[in-house]
């Protein structure tokens, strides 16, 4: 037991305290914050950023970064929406869009590893290109009406974003399941070890017989998949795919990782940290709205909170 306690990551612990402090603070300022209903909706809101941040975490752990998440989200969502409007049943359309997300991510990873281009630049390129492709694909207009209709297809799609299971919103379940899978993947599988060692010291990992190229390509594929999954939840909730969907999402995802102690130089950090980071951002967004802070100030406050978190992480 003592041993276990010792192993708790301090920076994780710090961000957990920050999260609790925020929740307590905002609860004191507004009665409407700490209610079951608000917490559930807060968690549901956090699922989009959460999924993207989880994918981003894997990428950052290998020492990379993925700026293309928002654009991949927009493109795959537009494709899913168009497929559904063309009469493809929604489960199949979703599957295709998830697969495409992974493929798009993989392409980026391929460019990074085989083309030896820095992840920042490579994903900046794919961010631009996929956004452009989305605009071309959708003619710059929203693709709407996907959740209209009485059939199974529409009901299925609606259930993903708006439904609840055992009183908990479906997106929250999705987030929890993905979290558990990734947690296990990082801590209990060889794949996790490959990710950490690649990010910590690529040369040493490669000399130890780890295929660092394949490891790196795979994390971008996972990140693309996560973006597409987040996109599906958005599509379900909004009922339409906007071509500008998801722009700026990469920043919230990176911020969540940074808040959770994921080192941007790779190799260090835990997915639990990212989860806490995601929750901090969600609590800030939701809480600041509830206590009536203007949205202009919200960004400033968010920035300051991230700064404090990252600085205090450095102190240790």
């Amino acid at each position: 037991m003592k041993d276990r306690f010792k192993k708790i990551n301090i920076s994780e612990f710090g961000s957990l305290i920050a999260l609790i402090a925020l929740i307590v603070g905002i609860s004191l300022l507004s009665k409407n914050f700490a209610t079951v209903g608000n917490f559930l909706s807060l968690l549901r809101q956090s699922s989009i950023n959460g999924l993207i941040a989880f994918g981003m975490t894997l990428v950052i752990l290998t020492g990379g970064i993925d700026l293309s998440v928002g654009s991949i989200l927009a493109f795959t969502t537009a494709i899913a929406a168009k497929l559904i409007l063309m009469g493809v049943t929604s489960p199949l359309a979703i599957l295709i869009s998830l697969l495409l997300g992974a493929i798009f991510g993989f392409i980026t990873g391929f460019i990074i590893t085989k083309g030896r281009i820095q992840p920042f630049i490579a994903t900046l390129i794919s961010m631009t290109v996929f956004r452009g492709l989305t605009l071309i694909f959708s003619n710059g207009k929203p693709i709407s009406g996907v959740t209209r209709g009485e059939d199974f297809s529409a009901a299925f799609l609606t259930a993903i974003g708006k439904g609840t299971i055992l009183g908990v919103p479906t997106p929250v379940w999705i987030l929890i399941i993905v979290f558990i899978v990734l947690y296990f993947l990082l801590s209990n599988t060889t794949y996790g070890r490959k990710i950490y060692s690649t990010g910590s010291n690529e040369k040493a990992a490669s000399l130890a017989g780890i295929n660092t190229v394949r490891t790196k390509m795979s994390v971008y594929a996972i990140s693309g998949f996560m973006s597409a999954l987040a996109g599906i939840i958005l599509l379900s909730r909004l009922g339409s795919a906007q071509p500008t969907l998801g722009s700026g999402y990469e920043l919230d995802a990176i911020a969540a990782g940074a808040l959770g102690g994921i080192s941007l130089s790779g190799g260090r950090g835990k997915i639990t940290g990212t989860l806490i980071g995601v929750l901090i951002i969600a609590v800030l967004n939701n809480g600041l709205n509830i206590i009536g802070v203007s949205s202009y100030y919200q960004d400033v406050i968010k920035g300051i909170v991230i700064l404090i978190a990252v600085l205090s992480d450095k102190e240790r």
Partner: protein, 493 residues
């Protein structure tokens, strides 16, 4: 300049690193500072140069008490510390490095001409041929070090502290360094020379101070003591033979390299390796020793040549395939290539054994992992608190044992070692030699690169000598001596 350190003590938390140490350096002397890793040498030097504070004691410089609180203050008085890992900016030129932070300028505009001229003058004073406009990263480690010495000269050095200066130098570079040290001494500079290499200490130093467990054991004139005396003082006991006794029964040829080449460093290398043998690879720096091994291991692309394992020609395109063929490679750069420093001993060992420790789905068996690590810690007597200790907090010798453990647990048939005892203290060196000896008894065949000739001579059953990327000779038996090897290495005949 006379430096006196009196009764210096320092503790980090509860760990007493220095305990009442006295150290005196006279004008124009070369003082060797010896001790095993963790004896407190670096801490003492860091205190002298103001990098860390002392708990107790006084420092007198020419009789005046000084308390430096920053490296810069010590530098002003002419105390300059050249670290083992050189402090150069690789993308800047020689001249820019020397004048870094002290650029000659007029109202912010650089006076490049004067700086270049002064750099050239410094190089001339040192008697070395380095172009002031050359980019640092393009220079050899030896030359980079000379630039650091030039920088010290430029800062009007009075006491120069050098930590393991020869660990990455070629033999000829080492000789140049010794010449420079002698000339600095003549110019009145005192030198504190930290080294594990006894041969060097006895060649260039006037006095030797030995530290052990944070205490000063003795200071002697070098002429009054022997190597064995110094080693005994360092480890506090008799060391016995420096190298274990080798048996001379070998099996069949298990591994053979024929006309291997990989431009530009490896041009034509051939040798064979017998089961249970230790094959030494000797040569000067730049002879292509490490590059040859990287080519065999698939981490450098092979241009031509054949590699046979147990009589079968194999094609190794990357380290993953090399590993499959039972080859393990312990590279010379422990920190950058061998270890994942911020991770545990367990993580480091299992990273080379992921397949063995997991099921078909890639799920790790953590019990098995723990057992394997605990076994390795015992087998290699790695000194640590437990298997979850981070390797960055281990001593150099123990880090190296972790690298050994990591590779030996993969059950290699062929083990390639590149400078296996670099930066490892005397006691741990012996342990590593014993490990090598035991491995060969179990049938592992070892290829060992080393720049320390005594090590090559003491451990190898046969020695392949490389010269400018070519294997120029194989010596065995009584031919394994310094003269024969150096002749081959320098002239390639």
């Amino acid at each position: 300049m006379k430096v006196e350190m009196k009764n210096i003590s320092k503790a980090f938390f509860k760990n007493q690193v220095l305990d009442g140490v006295d150290l005196v350096i006279d004008d124009a002397t070369v003082l060797a500072l010896c001790g095993e890793n963790g004896a407190g040498k670096s801490t003492l030097m860091k205190i002298l140069t103001g990098m860390i504070s002392k708990d107790e004691g006084t420092i007198l410089i020419d009789g005046i008490e000084k308390n430096y609180s920053h490296l810069k203050e010590a530098e002003k008085d002419g105390l300059i510390f050249i670290h083992q890992e050189l402090n150069v900016i690789p993308d800047m030129t020689v001249e820019e490095n020397i004048f870094l932070g002290k650029e000659i300028n007029k109202g912010g505009i650089l006076d490049k001409k004067t700086m270049r001229k002064e750099t050239a003058e410094l190089m001339e004073r040192l008697g070395v041929d380095i172009d002031p406009g050359a980019t640092m990263s393009k220079l050899s480690v030896g030359k980079q070090q000379m630039v650091e010495i030039a920088k010290a000269l430029h800062n009007d050095v009075k006491v120069l502290i050098m930590d393991e200066p020869t660990s990455a130098l070629t033999i000829s570079e080492t000789q140049t360094l010794f010449r420079i040290i002698a000339s600095l001494k003549k110019q009145g500079v005192s030198i504190i020379y930290i080294s594990h290499r006894m041969e060097e200490i006895f060649e260039i130093c006037d006095k030797v101070t030995v530290l052990r467990d944070g205490k000063c054991i003795a200071t002697n004139n070098v002429s009054d003591v022997t190597v064995d005396d110094v080693v005994r003082m360092m480890i506090g006991r008799e060391i016995g033979d420096r190298y274990p006794k080798r048996n001379s029964h070998f099996g069949e040829t298990i591994f053979e390299v024929k006309h291997l080449s990989s431009a530009p460093y490896v041009r034509d290398v051939s040798f064979n390796l017998r089961e249970g043998e230790i094959l030494g690879i000797a040569g000067l720096m730049g002879a292509g020793r490490s590059e040859t091994m990287h080519t065999i291991f698939g981490s450098i692309k092979k241009d031509e040549g054949e590699i046979d394992i147990e009589g079968q020609t194999v094609h190794i395109r990357n380290p993953i395939e090399a590993k499959k063929h039972g080859i393990a490679f312990i590279t010379e750069d422990r920190k950058n290539e061998g270890l994942l420093l911020p991770f545990s001993i367990k993580f480091n060992i299992s990273v080379a054994n992921l397949k063995k420790l997991s099921n078909k789905l890639g799920v790790l068996d953590k019990n098995k992992e723990k057992k394997m690590t605990e076994g390795a810690i015992k087998d290699f007597s790695i000194k640590c608190s437990d298997e979850s200790q981070h390797v960055e907090s281990l001593s150099g010798g123990n880090q190296q044992k972790v690298v050994f453990a990591k590779w030996v647990t993969t059950d290699p048939k062929i083990l390639i070692l590149d400078e296996p005892t670099r930066g490892v203290d005397v006691g741990a060196k012996k342990e590593i030699y014993d490990i090598m000896n035991d491995l060969t008894k179990e049938g592992v065949s070892i290829i060992m690169i080393s720049s320390e000739l005594p090590e090559i001579i003491g451990m190898s059953d046969r020695v392949v000598v490389l010269h400018e990327g070519k294997s120029v000779g194989i010596v065995e038996g009584s031919d394994i001596n310094e003269e024969k090897i150096m002749n081959l290495a320098t002239r390639g005949v």
